[in-house]
């Protein structure tokens, strides 16, 4: 606890130092180096909190009658690990990447403050401190999103983000207000002690889902992610996608699993439904995207969906009294959250390196970077395999656990769960398969093939700081994939605290096999699978190279008609075309118009793709128009006489008094 309490002010000092030294070259080293060290401190504090008893601290700051209550338990500790890991990685990457920043004074002061705000959210033990941290997190990240406000589209991104962040804060304020009850017990301890009635609990759940979900990127509240995450500098994008969405997940878990107490089974159904829709819709959006950073942001939406599927299962199992299943599902969700932090940060680092090397985010101008940027491409490939949920990397381990949680308990009596759980299983399977297609496309178009532009042909490898950060995270992907038992056992205290049960201990098995329930039921050994595949490759190479006659280079075969123009390659749009035809014609009403001039006509032929975002069109546009309409009407009230204003005040008073009379 003392570590966190000293690290947070240190981060704020670093933010101040950022204001003063932003223009100096040493400023970058100071801020990011300092953040790196402090994040390492947060990481250690998190590890410490996983195993030690709950710690409380009360500081005489904040609201006078509450003070600032801080608490560090296993759940906070786990998310501190995520914050320390993601923040530390981003700082390390930025030590090199920050060199290319044209306006460091717009980034350096806010970066440590952003980290500090997230740390405050994690250790807050009363509503005021929590919301203070939450809003500070929104504001600092908004400032970082607006760092490049001159670029096209970024101002709009910042605007949409600000609205959604305000909305999220408002929803959480409501949730805490209802949790605190009429007596106003804003400390989390008194919220835990109070048990709201069924109706109130239902409203709190929905409001918490809106508040935390809009920060995390749950459909239909995800619209700001693909706008805001790409607009920020890449290391901040990594922090927003990799870490801030997890802080939102933490907020949801804290409110719903911890403060709200026992829940009804239908809560699980709601969360499961949202999670399934989010997972599939997120990855479908990502498949259609041509901007590499927007693609990654949409893929974050997908992964948040997977995390929420796990959380929904945990809620459902907890409500039906199946604690072991709840522990399994919660462990799967938390493990996937951790994994997503690692591989999504890695992928955003890679996208940043590519952005620096080619000056573009549009995938259709890239290609062939595997030759020019070998280290970046290797690390990015590891991230792609991990996020596609393929063994032996970490994404598979956590998705496998989630699938096991879906299968663990079919004997439910509630019809909502009976139908929703298998459907979510299908959604998860579909999302995983589409994610594989999405990241084959991302890696294949950006790094493979022939360069599609002069910039891509001249790209230079990134610096060693950035490369170290990326390769380090790639190594983490492998380690978490082949030793998932370590992570599962580390999460055990968190699961025990929230569900009253834990998964069986994994590390006792001699071969480090993970078995969620029992070995006869299901088991997976990432280490052995990795070992077998590696051994088979080495053996095969040894045998085959002895038998055969070596390799000769020649021009590409291409069925005898090689085309020298790079435009003849498959592009990102053409790669996605079959999938667009299969899935997006329904979901996004995608269509194509081909204009083919008749023979003899010299005009060029053209193909126009149309794609509509159903949620933006059916929810946000009417909402925006409605707000505009109301604002226009209300505008008239600006130009009334004083007599009429007094009349309004009188009328309002009468209405309120009447309402009060009827109420009583």
């Amino acid at each position: 606890m003392t570590e966190v309490v000293s690290i947070v002010p240190a981060l704020f000092v670093l933010a101040l130092a950022g204001v003063l030294t932003a223009r100096l070259p040493a400023g970058r080293v100071l801020i990011y180096g300092g953040s790196l060290v402090l994040c390492a401190g947060l990481l250690l504090a998190g590890f410490d909190a996983l195993t030690s008893p709950v710690q409380h601290l009360r500081l005489p700051l904040g609201l006078p009658w509450i003070g600032t209550n801080l608490r560090l338990d296993a759940l906070s500790g786990f998310f501190l690990i995520i914050l320390g890991l993601g923040g530390g990685g981003a700082s390390l990457f930025a030590l090199g990447y920050g060199r290319h920043e044209h306006h460091p004074e717009r980034v350096l002061p806010f970066f440590p403050a952003f980290l500090a705000a997230m740390a405050i959210v994690l250790v807050a033990d009363d509503a005021f401190t929590f919301l203070f941290g939450w809003e500070l997190m929104s504001l600092t990240s908004w400032a970082l999103v607006m760092a490049h406000h001159g670029e096209a589209g970024n101002a709009r991104a910042g605007f949409v983000y600000l609205i959604m962040a305000t909305f999220s804060g408002l929803a959480l304020l409501l949730a805490f207000g209802m949790l605190a009850g009429p007596l106003g017990g804003y400390a989390f301890d008194s919220m835990r002690a109070a048990h709201p009635g069924m109706g109130t609990a239902a409203v709190i759940l929905v409001v918490a889902l809106i508040g935390a979900g809009s920060k995390a990127g749950l459909v239909p509240l995800h619209v700001w992610l693909p706008l805001a995450h790409p607009a920020a500098p890449s290391h901040v994008s990594a922090l927003m996608s990799g870490v801030m969405t997890k802080i939102a997940v933490y907020g949801f878990i804290r409110i719903v699993f911890d403060l709200l107490g026992p829940n009804q089974w239908w809560a699980g159904t709601v969360v499961l439904a949202l999670g399934g829709i989010t997972a599939v819709l997120g990855v479908l959006h990502a498949l259609m995207e041509r901007d590499i950073k927007r693609l990654l942001a949409y893929s974050t939406v997908e992964n948040i969906g997977i995390v929420f599927i796990g959380l929904g299962l945990a809620l459902a199992f907890r409500a039906t009294g199946f604690q072991a299943g709840a522990a399994l599902a919660l462990t799967a969700a938390l493990f996937h959250a951790l994994n997503h932090t690692v591989f999504k940060s890695l992928l955003f680092f890679g996208a940043g390196a590519v952005l620096n090397a080619t000056g573009a985010r549009d995938m259709e101008t890239m290609g062939g970077l595997i030759h020019r940027m070998p280290r970046t491409s290797f690390a990015f490939l590891a991230g792609c395999v991990a996020i596609a949920g393929l063994p032996p990397l970490n994404g598979f381990a956590s998705e496998w656990l989630t699938l096991q949680a879906i299968l663990v308990h079919p004997e439910m009596s509630e019809w909502g769960l009976k139908l929703m759980i298998p459907v979510d299983g299908a959604a998860l399977a579909l999302a995983a398969a589409l994610a594989a297609a999405c990241f084959v496309r991302a890696f294949g178009i950006v790094f493979l093939g022939r360069p599609r532009s002069e910039a891509a042909a001249q790209a230079r490898e990134t610096d060693s700081w950035s490369a170290t950060a990326m390769l380090g995270f790639a190594a983490l992907c492998l380690l978490a994939g082949i030793f998932p038992g370590v992570a599962i056992d580390a999460i055990a205290p968190v699961a025990r605290g929230l569900t009253g049960a834990r998964m069986p201990e994994q590390l006792t098995d001699a071969w480090m096999t993970i078995a969620p329930v029992a070995a006869s039921r299901s088991s997976y050994n990432g280490l052995l699978v990795f070992g077998f595949v590696t051994a088979s490759i080495l053996l095969t190479v040894a045998v085959v190279h002895r038998l055969s006659r070596g390799v000769r280079r020649g021009p590409a075969w291409d069925c005898g008609f090689p085309d020298p123009t790079t435009a003849s390659q498959y592009s990102g749009a053409s790669f996605a075309q079959p999938l667009r035809r299969v899935f997006a014609t329904v979901v996004f009403q995608a269509g194509e118009t081909v204009t083919m001039p008749p023979p003899g006509d010299n005009r060029p032929a053209s193909i126009v793709r149309r794609i509509r975002d159903p949620i933006w069109d059916t929810l946000y546009l009417p909402l925006g128009r409605g707000v505009g309409w109301v604002a226009d009407r209300a505008n008239k009230m600006q130009f009334l006489t004083i007599r009429r204003y007094l009349g309004f005040v009188f009328g309002a008073l009468v209405v309120l008094l009447m309402a009060l009379t009827i109420w009583q």
Partner: protein, 316 residues
């Protein structure tokens, strides 16, 4: 212990050595049904030997990924195939991956193959990769739904445990299992690029999926890919046999007699599977590429229906 290790080794070798024979058998059956004499069933071995002996010519701009991918595809498929019980359940390492892991390992292999198809930057490679991923995006969820069905009936995702449950005969006939079998056959056809989905015998024009993706490969790299394709076919037939017809499989502790019976039974099942596949491939026509999603969507829906039936029928 030592016997267990040997049995595992035999399993890995058996499936590797026999898989080209199965491919040869299917080709022979198809040829006979088309009133051709067809090449010998040993022809795939000769092809492999010839490919291995040749120099591999790769494009000037091929990256390291292009050269590594064939070995990775082969190794991942081989490990996945070795995890499927053939003559005996409960082999020494059978617990290191369950049915979901086997599916995902094949997914890893496909991921590498699709990337390799895009490495040279030719339009054929791109079209192959793109279509392969489109087919996989439906076949993989369908496969997982089948896994769910079988796992819910057997109470386990371990193939060994599933095979033992099916062997015990307490399962009986179930609608879900029938749905899963149909779906699994559809998925197996798609995953192996067999006739209604893709044609393994031609390169161009109509098919343009798997064969277009590996167009740039030659020599030893192509040999690895061909062998991996044969292994995958063996894997799927072995998987169908293991789940739906485990008859004769040894399930107790390792014992030479039972294992030998299991091996004979397995060989018989594989031969039957090969003949059936040949007949099926001869009797249907290849589909247009954009009919394939409907075909696979049917498998996905059948699988989901099977799972839903199981969820609904429990706890009532």
């Amino acid at each position: 212990m030592i016997y267990g290790f040997l049995a595992q080794l035999v399993q890995m070798t058996l499936i590797l050595v026999l898989s080209p024979l199965l491919t040869g058998l299917v080709r022979k059956v198809k040829a006979r049904l088309q009133r051709r004499r067809g090449p010998s069933v040993l022809q795939p071995y000769r092809d492999l030997r010839r490919l291995l002996g040749k120099e591999a010519v790769i494009a000037d701009n091929a990256s390291w990924l292009f050269r590594v991918a064939p070995y990775f595809v082969f190794a991942a498929t081989w490990v996945a195939a070795a995890l499927v019980p053939t003559f005996a359940a409960n082999l020494m390492f059978s617990w290191s991956g369950d049915l979901i892991a086997i599916t995902a390992l094949l997914g890893s292999a496909r991921f590498a193959m699709a990337l390799a198809g895009m490495d040279i930057g030719t339009s054929f490679g791109g079209i192959g990769s793109s279509r392969e991923m489109m087919i996989a995006s439906l076949a993989e969820p369908a496969m997982l739904m089948i896994v769910f069905t079988v796992a819910l009936i057997a109470g386990s995702t371990q193939l060994s445990t599933i095979a033992e449950t099916m062997l015990n005969g307490h399962v009986g006939l179930r609608v879900s299992l029938a749905l899963a079998l149909i779906a699994l056959i559809i998925v197996a056809m798609a995953e192996n690029g067999r006739v209604p989905v893709d044609n393994p015998a031609t390169h161009l024009e109509l098919t343009m999926v798997h064969e277009a993706m590996v167009l740039e490969y030659s020599g030893r790299h192509l040999a690895m890919i061909e062998l991996a394709a044969a292994l995958k076919l063996t894997l799927y037939i072995a998987m169908i046999a293991c789940v739906f017809a485990p008859l004769g499989m040894a399930s107790g502790p390792g014992e030479i007699g039972a294992d030998a019976i299991g091996a004979m039974a397995w060989l018989g099942k594989m031969a039957a599977g090969g003949v059936l596949l040949g007949v099926a491939e001869t009797s249907v026509a290849k589909m247009r590429v954009f009919r394939v999603p409907n075909f696979l969507g049917a498998a996905l829906m059948l699988g989901l229906l099977g799972v839903l039936l199981l969820f609904v029928s429990r706890g009532m």
